[in-house]
Symmetry: C6
Amino acid sequence: MNARTLDPAQHLIEREPYYEPIGDEIQLFEAAYRQQIPVLLKGPTGCGKTRFMEHMAWRLKRPLITVSCHDDLTASDLVGRYLVKGGETVWVDGPLTRAVRAGGICYLDEIVEARKDTMVVIHPLADDRRTLPMEKLGQLVEAPPEFCLAISYNPGYQSVLKDLKQSTRQRFVALEFDYPAAELERRIVVNESGIDAGMAEKLVRFAQMTRNLKGSGLEEGASTRLLVHAGKLISSGVDPVVACRSAVAQAVTDDADMLTAIQELSSSLF
Amino acid sequence: MNARTLDPAQHLIEREPYYEPIGDEIQLFEAAYRQQIPVLLKGPTGCGKTRFMEHMAWRLKRPLITVSCHDDLTASDLVGRYLVKGGETVWVDGPLTRAVRAGGICYLDEIVEARKDTMVVIHPLADDRRTLPMEKLGQLVEAPPEFCLAISYNPGYQSVLKDLKQSTRQRFVALEFDYPAAELERRIVVNESGIDAGMAEKLVRFAQMTRNLKGSGLEEGASTRLLVHAGKLISSGVDPVVACRSAVAQAVTDDADMLTAIQELSSSLF
Amino acid sequence: MNARTLDPAQHLIEREPYYEPIGDEIQLFEAAYRQQIPVLLKGPTGCGKTRFMEHMAWRLKRPLITVSCHDDLTASDLVGRYLVKGGETVWVDGPLTRAVRAGGICYLDEIVEARKDTMVVIHPLADDRRTLPMEKLGQLVEAPPEFCLAISYNPGYQSVLKDLKQSTRQRFVALEFDYPAAELERRIVVNESGIDAGMAEKLVRFAQMTRNLKGSGLEEGASTRLLVHAGKLISSGVDPVVACRSAVAQAVTDDADMLTAIQELSSSLF
Amino acid sequence: MNARTLDPAQHLIEREPYYEPIGDEIQLFEAAYRQQIPVLLKGPTGCGKTRFMEHMAWRLKRPLITVSCHDDLTASDLVGRYLVKGGETVWVDGPLTRAVRAGGICYLDEIVEARKDTMVVIHPLADDRRTLPMEKLGQLVEAPPEFCLAISYNPGYQSVLKDLKQSTRQRFVALEFDYPAAELERRIVVNESGIDAGMAEKLVRFAQMTRNLKGSGLEEGASTRLLVHAGKLISSGVDPVVACRSAVAQAVTDDADMLTAIQELSSSLF
Amino acid sequence: MNARTLDPAQHLIEREPYYEPIGDEIQLFEAAYRQQIPVLLKGPTGCGKTRFMEHMAWRLKRPLITVSCHDDLTASDLVGRYLVKGGETVWVDGPLTRAVRAGGICYLDEIVEARKDTMVVIHPLADDRRTLPMEKLGQLVEAPPEFCLAISYNPGYQSVLKDLKQSTRQRFVALEFDYPAAELERRIVVNESGIDAGMAEKLVRFAQMTRNLKGSGLEEGASTRLLVHAGKLISSGVDPVVACRSAVAQAVTDDADMLTAIQELSSSLF
Amino acid sequence: MNARTLDPAQHLIEREPYYEPIGDEIQLFEAAYRQQIPVLLKGPTGCGKTRFMEHMAWRLKRPLITVSCHDDLTASDLVGRYLVKGGETVWVDGPLTRAVRAGGICYLDEIVEARKDTMVVIHPLADDRRTLPMEKLGQLVEAPPEFCLAISYNPGYQSVLKDLKQSTRQRFVALEFDYPAAELERRIVVNESGIDAGMAEKLVRFAQMTRNLKGSGLEEGASTRLLVHAGKLISSGVDPVVACRSAVAQAVTDDADMLTAIQELSSSLF
């Protein structure tokens, strides 16, 4: 077990994370970063947004602090709070504050899942004030030019209750992500799972078939990540049809008819 | 009374738990385990998911830490919290953290019952980062290769409110569980309740009849566990019809008509 | 005033509680107890479920710890919590833990009223693991063979929101309770209220009339307990018609028409 | 200002509270009290339920502890809690516990307004167990024979959300309250407000007119208390029509048409 | 900056607050005060209820303690709570308790906005018991004759959720407030804003026009307070039409059509 | 990193913030400020309300304390609270209190997002009492003449749940904001992003086209802030069409058809 302290300097990513660009997202991110405009990543699950952030953090040589947002994430969880230690009340910075102070990249994953106060606390950081008011500490922290705020969300899951307000989204430059093109996705699957190119090509074709079912009873198609899972099972000796059922079909749906349909797709391929 | 400390090393299962495989679930689990992909168990209540996990933990010689999820289970309940002891604030790891540190298997039973923050806290553990950010402790724990995350849920209970998000489920290899085949189920009932094979066969036939009523007024059919209950009552001298009413019929429904119908089924068999 | 400490040993019931069996419930409970299967009591209010539990506890010579469940009953209320005493944090077992440690009977009355986490915390105790994980204390308590878990609920009050999940109910042997037969109920009323057999017979006939009104504007008929109340008022010199109005009619409904109808029933009898 | 300590012995009512019985409620209460059955008072606001309880407490020479129930009243508010005083944690009994220990009368006013846990905490006190389990203190308090539990509610306000469950109401003998008969009400108004009998008679006639409007746009008619208010304003020199508008009409409704209608009623009388 | 301690004696109002009576409200309040009946003020926003309370407090020479009610106002906020100071737990009276002890006037503004427990805590103070039970302190405070309880609400905003229960409202003498008559309102505007009588008359006429629009797309007409705002802007050199738009039209509505309509009304007058 | 203490005196804005007036808003704000009437700013996101407040604070030489409101902002967050420091309980003023004491400008951004208690706590500050009652500290702070309260909201987002009550809004003079006229907006974009006037003019025309789509599938058009973002990306070398897609189209909508439509608008311009 390896327990690194959450010291921002240690959030530096030392080895280049494997990332295959799908468009001009690297150039756009770098332009926004230089202009100190915060960035919003949009796209379905498992298409590489988190990996992209790791890649950019490595490229820009900035520590990356990632926070997975959820219903119970409070503004204090991000900014910090007083804790009692040995009878003394000491202030402990939250991950957002640590990122601001260290001039790092703070990546709030699935921002729409967060409570409203979490979204509002980033407003003064996300316009040209670039400040983080820490009411409880009595400080106003100014972000250094190296600091960068990035958030992500999946437009496919938007609902009335979980929406990104215009007053939030109109503070960001937005980058769109989607599944990679076939040739590129094949290369990723080979690289990450260790199977051969022929098998990877079949898996990619299989994934595209499931993606076409989206809207016809399937909430979401198979992500690249699921193909990597199937590939890894196959390279561990699991039969491809069984691997597709367990790593892909069962992972995307519980519907019996849908499961049969997807099963037939994989049986026809392997 | 025997109060074992919740030391992960003591969660090792020493005697082989009785488990009859119903398909290739053992091979698939082992492949996913070797490839460090987390596992999702799907299936109805009482069909052996918990027993399977105990069996796999014994097989892989890893401590098993089980958490029953519910509406009020917070991320802190899983990860840990500060407690005040003797005037000092001390950190106490939660069960998920203990499992990660010990390289054990953490099994989150009925994950959809948990609060959303609980589901999100496992995201960085359930992709190739395999890390557990402990914001409050200021540590980022990296899971050792031996660590394994497993979750379960019952697709039959899914609702709009209690759903497994695609961004969660697309991180797992999924194994399907169902009631065992007749011959196998008979063997299990004999083995666990001590009744003879003839009586066990009748109980299995009875269970299958109730399972056919699912959807026609019955929320769920009799699980293998209920057959074992009935068998145990019978081996304690209770009349089989009474045992079926008390251990099976009354356990699956409150509906008067349904109870009569099931009663008639058992009367025709015993 | 007599304030007994909640020491489980002191929950032993020394005198035989008066209980008239209505079927084979005593035999079934004893069989389940010997086989270490938990028990679920079903039935309307005031028909003797609590008294039955006291009787069984006396019979089996085990301490009985009863918890009335409600909306705000947390898992911690059952399992225990840390309290600060004299500057020190000390752990205080909850009633469920005390019952487990003492090998007693823990009776959770009206379980469906409890919060979901309360229902889930009993799962590992209610299957063949028979363990109580105490996450906050860091202990896993194994229940001794003498421990018994019993829960009750009233199927007549079931609603979508307050339901017993299949994954909970399929862990129990279920015993059905109902109002006692006329002759038996008469005997109970005489024994508990001190009125003569003729008056008791009239009260029982009156109760049966109200039970026939269930569904025709009456939520529930008069329970045996209400007959005992009426009997006690009568033996204190209250006129039977007045006693029936105050102890029965007004206790089961607020509806003016229903009150008149029930009043007429009692006027015709006394 | 006079701040009496909430010592139950000091809740004794020394002077006879003025109370005019409207039926056999005094006899019924005394019978229930002797038989140790708890009492439920039903009736509209301002018809004398609280005064009746004060009268009975004086009659039975028991301290009276009244609790006004509301949405946020917890079981702990009734039973007691630990408080930190001078660094020590000390237990402080709640009003219900104080009443039980002192053998007093505990009156829970408007019980349906309370949270569900508050209703359930009185269950073991309200059947023949007559015990108050104090989980947090680790004590089981047995109520002495002098203790009496009384609750009240207004059936006119019942709704699906705020309902008295059968399992609660079937533990009580119920007494019905209503507005007093005209002659009696006149006597009360004279006695309490100091106006003469002629004026009081007119006020009573006025009140009856408003009560007939109940259901025709008026939620509730004028209570006896409002007549006393009007009488007091009149005896302070306010014109009767103005007093009726201010103390009665405006107090029962905001509806402009209804206010005009009631105003016309009073103008025709005075 | 001037920070007065919230000592009730310092809540005495020394200079006569400017108040123009609109009816017999002063006489009625004084009668209710002498008879120790609590008072309910009804009326739209900005028509002078708060100013009236200040005037009456000055007239009766009693300290005035005002509490603006809202959703999160708890009973403890009114009654008081324990605070830890220098390691000791000390009790701090809430504003209601301070008013009771000091024999002052406690004015609960917009009472229907408060939580239900806040409304119930005033019940024993608002009937002839005139006591404030302080459960947490263990005291029962009796209100001295000088104490007066007053509450206000705006019937125009009533909804099912935010309603004054009959059991609350039938404890008060109710005073109705409305916009002052034209001549009176003109005098108020001149007195408070410093503009001349001609301009004030036009503003009053303008206000009446907007009040006629209530129900035809306008939630509420312009209050006297808004006329004073417009008058003050005008006396600061702002053009009357601009002042009417900014201080009145934009303050009462966001609807574009309505804004145009009101704009035309003011253009026609100035 | 630069962490200024939140000392109000340090909230003084030293350099004139760039602001182009769009109407008489500066004159109106100054008149309201002199007359001590609080100010409400209305308008869509990104049209310069925050910048205007910074400009006015600089003009009036008062410290500016800005609070972004949200669902979980409590009255205590604004007013202050007790914190335990080194064993002692010390009071810490909230931002509103600091602004009042320092005679500064307190700007509550997006007030309708705040909880109801937050809105009510400003009532006594927002009428002619100009006082801030600090119940927990036991002080009544009087605002000095220099203090100014300003709030903002976006009428386009109003809903039944998030509404500004008449009793709140009728305390303010209201200033309307909108997108600047074309010529003015062009000047702002040039000044803030560094692109040339021709490019800025095209961007402004593009923004106007998107604003015309409001209501036809677009929640809100492009704000001036988004034009500045696009301009900055362009001046960093990004292609104008790509910049418009990333900084404008993707920032205002997720709808695929809408994105195509906006893309076509920008392609036709650049």
